[in-house]
């Protein structure tokens, strides 16, 4: 059985993911002059993430300069300065940076470990079957227990409707990810199912993350 507290402790012990930036292809490497370990880095910004993140290095191959930008917000851990001005092979590590987990990311990490996600098979609108829907509305999502093979959803697309059966471990519905009357893309999670005995622990962990986790800017 999953030990939520241990997972939480584990995340607390290393509250960031360390990401490595590697040369996408061979070429002559140059670093921006003022970049040094410990510097804060920004990931892509803008409403559509259209502006690239902090420039980490420039890689020139056949007189074609390619900027290498930071993909996530974080802090520069190491910069291989000794490669500055050198020709590097594809895959050479250029820099490492730490991306500190946000509250949302920690929650997702925990839920990913604790829940079984049931995925939408195709792009459509999804509804619970009436029996589940009533139970859901009266007593809330956690009152619904699902078993493998249960008829759980109605999948509706372009006025065609088909029923969809749940497949996966037995448990209660912990989270619902789709919105009534809105399309869900294929591959997006519909519900997260949690073993019944794990529910209190998950709830406690979520509460703790929401109250205790401090985000680093």
């Amino acid at each position: 059985m999953l030990d939520i507290s241990a997972v939480l402790e584990e995340i607390k012990a290393s509250p960031y993911t360390e990401l490595s930036v590697r040369a996408p292809h061979c070429g002559l490497l140059t670093f921006p002059g003022d970049l040094k370990p410990g510097d804060p880095l920004s990931g892509p910004v803008g409403e559509w993430k259209e502006k690239p993140g902090t420039l980490l290095a420039t890689l020139e191959r056949e007189r074609n300069e390619r900027p290498i930008s930071c993909e996530e917000k974080g802090e520069l851990a190491a910069l291989n300065r000794e490669l500055d001005g050198c020709f590097v092979e594809a895959g050479t590590e250029i820099a490492r940076y730490r991306h500190f987990l946000s509250r949302e990311e920690v929650l997702q990490l925990i839920l990913k470990r604790a829940l079984h996600l049931f995925i939408a098979p195709e792009r459509a609108k999804y509804y619970f079957v009436p029996a589940v829907d009533i139970k859901f509305k009266v007593s809330g999502p956690k009152a619904v227990t699902v078993h493998d093979g249960d008829e759980l959803f109605i999948m509706s697309r372009m006025k065609r409707e088909a029923s969809l059966r749940y497949s996966g471990p037995e448990g209660v519905i912990y989270a619902v990810y789709f919105i009534y009357n809105q399309n869900v893309d294929a591959g997006a999670p519909l519900i997260g199912v949690c073993p019944p005995d794990l529910v209190p622990q998950v709830e406690e962990a979520v509460l703790r993350v929401q109250t205790e986790w401090t985000e680093r800017n």
Binding site: E62, R63, N64
Partner: protein, 756 residues
């Protein structure tokens, strides 16, 4: 109570003066402030009579100072005047100039676009003892004294669509249209019908409206103004401005400022005076017909005398337009001509009566007159240095072509067609008749020969084998006639879609050579120079350029612009940003006007407009299809001011004449095409195509965000988006442009390409 009102009124006048002049003329403003304060201090101790006297003195002082300041107004002060919330707006005019009106489709903010107000109104006039109500359609932008929902008179595309709709209604009802231009510019969004495309539709529609159109310009900001300002007579208010761009916008471009930065006040003032945007400037250049004098420091809603003058002028001008195209008008025209002076003397125009609805012959004359009027404009700004001998010979050629095509198409072909149609009919009847008679015999024969009957080898091959690659068509197997200079550089190029599509780097000699600047993985089109198209799209050696000596100039005498122009001319080897030529595609002859991005961003000034018009006229004369290939255009050339702006209606009218004559007009957009040209003579084409990866739109993302506050997603102006919005009609691959263009000519022009 009355005195209180007067004081309140004076306070408002003071606020107005302060707003207009800001930090300038401080001593005058201080004088007024101190006098006002002085009065307020003394007020409680004064008797009613003394108060009245004091207020009268104050009013005199205000009048004196206003007169003094009026003499020193700078163009930028006038811009501030027309933008001021106290400035008269359309509803004031409706209230005070017309005798009665009904607003159409709006009630305050409840309207498809509250910044565009449309009303049916009438003016009551007398003829003898009879009173006559003369109806007009009033259309104009409404600033609403600063009401927020009016957007300051920036009309959204659907507002302009509504205006066009009611212009057509007026045309059906045969009543004149009075348009009032109170706009700083159009609201720059692409949502269907699209700012640019709708303005183009408006200009195109207005160019041939069969009713008199009179426009009155107070604030004429660029494309937004042109959407309703194409008129038989254009009147301007003396304190208004009419310009291709706001002085701030011009300053931002002059000062090369990035978005968000503000230009200094001095630079804005300098730009405002250099751009020659005032009523007097526009009258001198011929872009407006009359100027109506406003009271000192501009008209405000309480200037009733001004409204009376405006009414008189509107009556006079509408009469003048109506009568000038009527068959019988000798005495009335003579009288009208002398009446302008009489109006000043105090005689009114309420009496003599001219019918404003026109008979059909007069309608055609009106439209022709309007076209001729606009054709003559801005010629001074596009000097033509063609030698006299060359002009003479081209004149002869033109006459020759005119006669030849008239004889061939209008006379001979019409008869030929009639005969051919008749022969065709007879043939069909004959075939049907014989088929019936011979049917049994044929059946018998086919039964006898059935087994022996064989399909020819060629037909069999065509039906069973895959079609072959034709090197002369489509992509020519990568063997291009012209190869870009960029292909000579040994380097790699990264596709902008590399991160999303996983495109590998391309070697420039491959990319710009064989691949014709197209990414082999995702199909992204890298920009190519216009020469590539000249050589690879049209038949070898078929290009014949004309009007080469019409030269881009600096009509407003903008500082240092001469040098920039000379540099562009040297760099491109062309005298203007528009190249006009005749060419062939697989033997099909056509006239092409090409806007070159390399020449000052492909901006359109008087010379470019003139060349475009000549190209359209040549195509019309020779009965050739007309292609506008837009290698890139940044809009109207702002350094030419109104001389550039007027090309919007001028060129659109030329296109309209050409299309009405039965021509086929195709537009192809490449790289980036924005603003004025798209919002007029390009956007009005029924067949517009985009080269892949091109951008088409009205205003760039920076301008949209700055003026509307809306963030624009990446690729907002991409041709695919433009196609989805219904702005263009198709997207072509660069490598297949020759093939697609040829097919378009065949499918859209029919067999004779020109005649429908």
């Amino acid at each position: 109570m009355e005195i209180e009102k007067q004081v309140q009124h004076l306070t408002e006048r003071l606020i107005y003066i302060r707003d207009i002049f800001g930090d300038k003329h401080n001593e005058n403003i201080r004088l007024l402030v101190s006098k006002m304060e002085d009065y307020r201090r003394r007020e409680p101790s004064l008797s009613v009579r003394e108060r009245r006297a004091a207020v009268l003195t104050l009013e005199d002082l205000f009048g004196f100072v206003e007169k003094k300041l009026e003499a020193e107004l700078s163009p930028m002060d006038m811009v501030r005047i027309v933008r001021h919330p106290q400035r008269i707006c359309l509803r004031d005019i409706l209230e005070n100039v017309y005798d009665n009106y009904t607003e159409i489709g709006s009630m305050g903010e409840h309207s498809i676009d509250p910044s565009m107000v449309i009303a049916r109104a009438y003016i009551t006039r007398r003829r003898g003892k009879k009173t006559i109500d003369q109806s007009v359609m009033v259309i104009g932008q409404e600033k609403g004294h600063g009401e927020e929902f009016r957007n300051g008179g920036s009309v959204k595309p659907w507002g302009n669509a509504k205006a066009l709709h009611y212009m057509k209604v007026a045309e059906t009802e045969n009543i004149p249209i009075h348009t009032f231009v109170f706009t700083p510019g159009s609201y720059p969004i692409e949502d269907t019908p699209g700012a640019a495309q709708q303005i183009a539709a408006n200009i195109y529609g207005m160019s041939s409206l069969k009713v008199p159109v009179i426009s009155v310009i107070s604030e004429g900001g660029s494309g937004g103004a042109e959407a309703i300002a194409l008129a038989d007579r254009r009147i301007m208010l003396s304190h208004g401005y009419y310009s291709v761009i706001s002085p701030e916008g011009a300053a931002a471009i002059e000062g090369r400022l990035r978005s968000g930065q503000r230009a200094s006040q001095e630079l804005v003032e300098k730009c405002a005076s250099q751009m020659q945007i005032t009523a007097r400037d526009n009258l001198r250049m011929g872009y407006v017909d009359h100027v109506i004098q406003e009271p000192n420091l501009g008209a405000r809603p309480y200037h009733y005398e001004f409204f009376r003058n405006l009414r008189q002028e509107l009556l006079r001008v509408t009469d003048e337009v109506s009568i000038s195209v009527r068959g019988l008008h000798l005495f009335r025209a003579l009288r009208l001509r002398s009446r302008r002076k009489q109006a000043i003397k105090g005689l009114d125009f309420e009496k003599a009566y001219v019918r404003w609805n026109l008979p059909s012959s007069a309608q055609n004359r009106l439209v022709n007159r309007r076209h001729r009027k606009f054709r003559r404009l801005s010629l001074h700004a596009a000097p033509d240095y063609t030698p006299f001998s060359k002009r003479l010979s081209s004149l002869w050629q033109e006459i020759g072509w005119g006669l030849y095509t008239h004889f061939k198409y209008d006379m001979l072909q019409r008869q030929q067609q009639k005969v051919a149609e008749y022969v065709d009919e007879v043939k069909s009847e004959w075939t049907l008749f014989f088929d019936r008679i011979l049917a049994p015999w044929r059946m018998l024969m086919s039964k006898i020969r059935g087994a022996e009957r064989k399909v020819s080898v060629e037909t069999e091959r065509q039906l069973t084998e895959l079609s072959e690659w034709d090197d002369n068509q489509e992509q020519r197997g990568g063997n291009w006639v012209y190869v870009s200079a960029k292909a000579r550089i040994d380097r790699a190029v990264t596709c902008p879609n590399a991160s999303t599509h996983g495109c590998l780097d391309l070697w420039a000699p491959d990319l710009y050579g064989e691949f014709a600047g197209v990414c082999t993985n995702c199909g992204h089109h890298f920009p190519m120079e216009h020469q590539w198209y000249l050589h690879n799209v049209f038949d070898q050696g078929s290009i014949f350029e004309f009007a080469t000596d019409v030269e881009a100039s600096n009509p407003l005498g903008i500082e240092e612009f001469e040098v920039k122009l000379a540099e562009a001319k040297r760099k491109t080897g062309h005298k203007s940003g528009c190249m006009v030529f005749e060419a062939r595609i697989n033997g099909v002859r056509l006239v092409v006007a090409m806007l070159m991005a390399a020449f000052r961003g492909g901006s359109v000034g008087a010379a470019e407009g003139e060349k475009f018009i000549r190209a359209a006229e040549r195509a019309s004369r020779k009965r050739f299809p007309f292609l506008a290939y837009v290698h890139g255009t940044a809009g109207i050339r702002i350094q030419e001011g109104t001389n550039g702006l007027i090309q919007m209606p001028r060129c659109t009218m030329a296109v309209r004449r050409y299309i009405d004559d039965g021509g086929l007009y195709i537009v192809t957009y490449d790289t980036n095409s924005y603003a004025g040209p798209v919002a007029s003579f390009l956007g009005c084409s029924p067949y517009q195509f985009g080269i892949r990866s091109a951008n088409v739109g009205f205003a760039g993302p920076g301008v949209i965000t700055e003026t509307t506050g809306i963030l624009v997603p990446p690729h907002y102006h991409n041709v695919y988006k433009a196609l989805s919005r219904g702005h263009i009609q198709g997207i072509w691959d660069r490598r297949e442009m020759r093939f697609n263009l040829y097919r378009a000519l065949l499918t859209m022009g029919g067999r004779n390409l020109y005649y429908r």
